[in-house]
């Protein structure tokens, strides 16, 4: 049996917390765990796990954003934090020891920027927003960022961008109910849409809010306002053996568990899918290994449901790096909670 234990509630934001990002190098080699959160209060907060075993706010970044900070993402080196805001800009903060310094501001989107993501090597950054576009920025020396492509294809605002964990593939999901996959076609920064996962391909029937990959990158989960999760798969071997793009296909739909919009989904290293939804609950799903997957395809079972995990909508759930199965959740109630998923022997 599994149990979910609340470790600590982090308070400080004065408006809804939209998004969370664990520093990827924290929790490894004895470094303390570190978490960034961003909020409707226009600020970003950095939280750190102290030797006393409590979580403390280490910094409040209240400049330069003038509206909601919707999303944040650490670079793979853990040194830079990118923040996307409804003020139309994306800011880059650098960890300078005791503090964080805004070293760059990326302008270009017509209005709200909704998501930001670094690729695996940290050489590219993607942003997306209400103007229906996805921008790709090249990271140049001296904290310079140059826009190398503006991707058009979505017909409504783009909710989230996420790079594939190993391949140079960019995924975007949208209010237009689709997920699009973008790749450089080999010419000079000529990024094109190589696949669209739409309702006609067993895709979602309403806004797709978020997506997450498994550790090996051959499976992806998407979550939606249509109250379902969908699991997608690709042939990783084919992807690695050739330069060609191996298309993604629908593997299964996880329906009947959520009552309201699913805003966030995150796949753990040990294959547990966590969701955060507008019904204030956190749920965990695992693949069902008992039935005949050759005939029926994979299916996923509810492992655990934590009702009233927060007092209001849950906007983000994120598994921590490091050894322990820690999960952070952020909600409209302005709080963040740190949870531990523990195995309880029967």
């Amino acid at each position: 049996m599994e149990g979910l234990k609340e470790i600590q509630k982090l308070e400080g934001h004065t408006d809804r917390v939209w998004s969370l990002a664990w520093n990827p190098l924290s929790g490894l080699d004895g470094a303390p765990l570190k978490l960034a959160s961003c909020s409707g209060d226009k600020t970003v907060r950095i939280w750190e796990h102290k030797p006393s075993n409590s979580w403390e706010c280490q910094a409040v970044l209240d400049d330069p954003h003038t509206r909601t900070v919707r999303s944040c993402a650490w670079s793979p080196s853990g040194k830079l934090l990118a923040t996307a805001s409804f003020d139309g800009t994306t800011a880059i903060f650098q960890d300078v020891g005791d503090d964080y310094e805004c070293v760059s501001t990326l302008e270009g989107h017509e209005n709200e920027v909704k998501s930001v993501s670094w690729n695996a090597s940290g050489s590219l950054l993607a942003t997306c927003g209400r103007d229906k576009t996805v921008w790709i920025w090249e990271v140049l020396p001296g904290n310079e960022f140059e826009c190398v492509a503006v991707l058009q294809g979505h017909t409504q605002d783009v909710k989230m961008v996420q790079w594939h964990p190993t391949m140079e593939l960019l995924f975007s999901c949208s209010y237009d109910n689709t997920v699009k996959i973008w790749a450089d076609d080999g010419e000079d920064d000529n990024w094109v849409c190589v696949q669209t996962l739409a309702q006609s391909n067993s895709g979602h029937s309403s806004t797709v809010w978020a997506l997450s990959f498994n550790a090996t990158g051959d499976k992806m989960v998407t979550c939606s306002d249509d109250l379902t999760l969908k699991i997608w798969g690709t042939d990783n071997g084919k992807m690695l053996s050739s330069d060609g793009f191996a298309p993604w296909s629908h593997l299964c739909t996880v329906a009947g568990y959520h009552d309201r919009t699913i805003f966030s989904v995150h796949w753990s290293r040990d294959n547990i899918i966590a969701t955060g939804a507008a019904d204030d609950a956190i749920r965990f799903f695992v693949e069902n290994n008992e039935c005949d997957t050759l005939v029926d395809g994979p299916s996923y079972n509810l492992l655990l449901k934590k009702e009233k995990a927060h007092d209001m909508d849950i906007n983000s759930v994120q598994w921590s790096p490091g050894e322990n199965r820690l999960l952070a959740s952020a909600a409209d109630d302005g709080t963040i909670k740190i949870w531990e998923l523990t195995s309880v022997s029967c």
Binding site: F86, N111, Y175, D225, D311
Partner: protein, 119 residues
């Protein structure tokens, strides 16, 4: 229940939503046990461009009147708007609602509808 929202002014007319029959006694249902509110309104015309503004006004007002954990769903009544599905989707996308309320022009329009004493 409709008392909470009946005096909101229409964005385009010097009348309240109730006077224009945008709202009626049946418009709002509240489930206190589950903490859920459903409000259905009828725009004055099929192509009402202000439907989303009316929706914003209702949402802001209900947020002021009910405990913060209440879930609010807002819809136009079936068949009352030419773009019913897209209006309903937009009214209930909380990210779009949050962004709209940070837009100074929209915010001013909403505040005028909520606090106008010119009725």
């Amino acid at each position: 229940m409709v008392n909470f929202v009946r005096d909101i002014r229409d964005p385009e007319h010097p009348y309240s939503l109730e006077q224009l029959s945008v709202l009626s006694e049946e418009s709002i249902t509240v489930d206190d046990k589950l903490g859920r509110i459903l409000i259905t309104f009828t725009p004055t015309i099929q192509h009402c461009s202000m439907a989303t503004v009316i929706g914003l006004c209702l949402r802001v007002k209900l947020k002021q009147c009910f405990p913060p954990h209440y879930k609010v769903d807002i819809k136009v009544s079936p068949g009352s708007h030419a773009d019913e599905e897209s209006v309903n989707k937009q009214l209930n996308d909380k990210e779009r609602v949050a962004a709209a309320l940070e837009n100074p022009n929209l915010r001013q329009l909403v505040d005028e509808c909520l606090y106008s004493s010119e009725l």
